[in-house]
Subunit: 335 residues, 2 copies
């Protein structure tokens, strides 16, 4: 295992110390894994709904990089690829409640759902209103009646941005939760890997791929994919990924979308921009307009090489909230 | 070679098509490799000095990601790790000259110096005033009387930001060039690699490192480093890197610095933040205050795993220009 770390045990707290040093707009409790807004201009919301997210670490800048005005009030960071414990989630929730309640944005993994649900119950006992919104955008997992259902991946960023914008405007908790669910309902993601990630604790790759292989439909925790193919061109890769997404989002034809071309940690900007070009081409051929887009490392999977694509069908409301000012370490505009 | 590309030949033009799709604020001539500002609010400077940079591709977002208000007027992208030709540099220079002259920011590599110098001569013949500033911040290369001298790496970003800010204020060419040289004189960089990059044309790594090896003093084109060691902790790595930098910048003690913790393409945010934490600790122990900092992929080396550190000793003038509004795809604040 080759990583710039001190020890597998201290990866999360060390990285959070680095975020604290890098971003004065954050208040970071590195040992607890709680990140909130520092007081001041881009400071804590007052009398507004607080939007909170969190989950296992290893996906940076998700979630702590999105704490700030117009987006999250707090992020809770668990160990690598492991949910934070209910006590920590509850502590962060109570800390940021400004009287209007707290929205929990939770990626759909069994441990996260369990722990956020328990934390919410504890908070409700303390008189803090909590709504939970589950993100389950990964079309690589089939929708079934049973089982944990689809994984939450890149759409989390869209849900956090748009719900955070509505909360910043002072909307009540039910409305903020409703727009978050609307984003999730209109968003789909799909990922490919050229290499596996290596978790610091295990020290070896979760899976291995041959020199000429690409894995389609991977998860952001090194979960195996849907199928393995011989390495394709960027054009073919974009087509395969968008086929999977659009098969599941047929109403997208003709509607504008918000697009995320997301690096998984080990893939450089030059390749992500090549994928961005191919996505533009394929969507254009299918009559879909990209209204807004992001390209970069937003929801990583440690050092995995590869990328995910997320499309969110957007109406005027979602575009307006997407464009609203945001001032966080990793998303910043209009502020 | 595992990359999300279409072909080695089309890497640069495909990536530029992606930048065009992603960033409406850019005007991109993908085949020529010229990126300028789109007209409009964040559009072309009028009557102001135009700041232009460029060089081989493979370092994205450098340089095209820094085109926009408060920074570059134009970026010229050559083939991967290869200087653009003089004709292209000259065409871009003439296109962005608004009557006040053009500053060329050139990383210190033989091909770049040669081609930018020839382009400048062609422009002067056309009546366009050009000043050239050379960036040579990499302390891994010894200062010698002979030879090409030190390589230009991370400090290029600082020079582009600060010169761009002064140009935006309407300062004359001589002053913009002077502040650019001042930044370079006060900046030092050092890089380490955990893996080599693989150029698309060659298809195999430039060098190979053992499973437990780290290479110190590498360049951003896969140039070999100063020494090879057994993999160290992030703390030890930061100490070794800052030793090399501070040995060359002794006056830094006590002065505030602007810091760049830069990913080389294959290293994820979580590791860069761990390095950021260790840099904060080491500099703190040596009485150096980090006044401003960036953490992320800014000056990459294709898919290389590793990072570079850049420190720039900053007085009030440099901090003021650093803080000035900037609106580019990859740096944006205050706009």
């Amino acid at each position: 295992m080759k990583k710039l770390i001190n020890s597998p045990e201290s990866v999360v707290s060390d990285a959070l110390r680095g975020m604290a040093a890098a971003h004065p707009g954050l208040r970071v409790e590195a040992e607890k894994g709680i990140v909130t807004r520092a007081a001041g201009a881009a400071g804590e919301p007052t009398g507004k709904v607080a939007v909170l997210s969190g989950g296992g670490s290893g996906h940076e800048p998700l979630h702590a990089g999105f704490v700030g005005r117009g987006m999250l009030a707090a992020a809770v960071a668990g160990p690598v690829f492991t949910s934070p414990v209910p006590d920590t989630i509850a502590a962060a929730t109570c800390a940021v409640d400004a009287g209007a309640g707290v929205l929990h944005i939770v990626k759909n993994y069994t441990g996260d759902i369990l722990n956020f649900t328990m934390a919410a119950e504890d908070c409700e006992d303390e008189g803090v209103k909590v709504e939970q919104v589950v993100v389950d955008d990964d079309v690589a997992v089939a929708r079934t009646e049973h089982g944990p259902g689809r994984r939450g991946t890149g759409a989390t960023l869209f849900v956090e941005k748009i719900a955070g914008a509505l909360a910043e405007e002072g909307a009540p908790l039910a409305e903020v939760a409703a727009v978050a669910r609307k984003v999730n309902a209109n968003a789909r993601s799909y990922g490919v890997a050229l290499s596996s990630c290596t978790t610091p604790a295990k020290g070896s790759p979760n899976f291995t791929l041959g020199e000429d292989e690409i894995e389609l439909g991977i998860g952001i925790h090194g979960e195996p994919g849907r199928e393995r193919r011989t390495l394709m061109t960027a054009a073919e890769t974009a087509e395969a990924m968008l086929d999977a997404i659009l098969d599941d989002l047929p109403e997208a034809a003709g509607a504008p979308v918000i697009l995320l071309v997301n690096g998984l940690g080990g893939t450089p900007p030059v390749e992500l921009y090549i994928m961005r070009a191919e996505v533009e081409r394929v969507l254009g051929e299918r009559g879909i307009t990209v209204a807004r887009s992001l390209v970069g490392n937003y929801v990583t999977s440690l050092d995995m090489a590869g990328c995910t694509l997320t499309l969110c069908r957007a109406d005027e409301e979602l575009l307006r909230l997407w464009d609203a000012p945001v001032d966080t370490p990793s998303l910043r505009w209009g502020c």
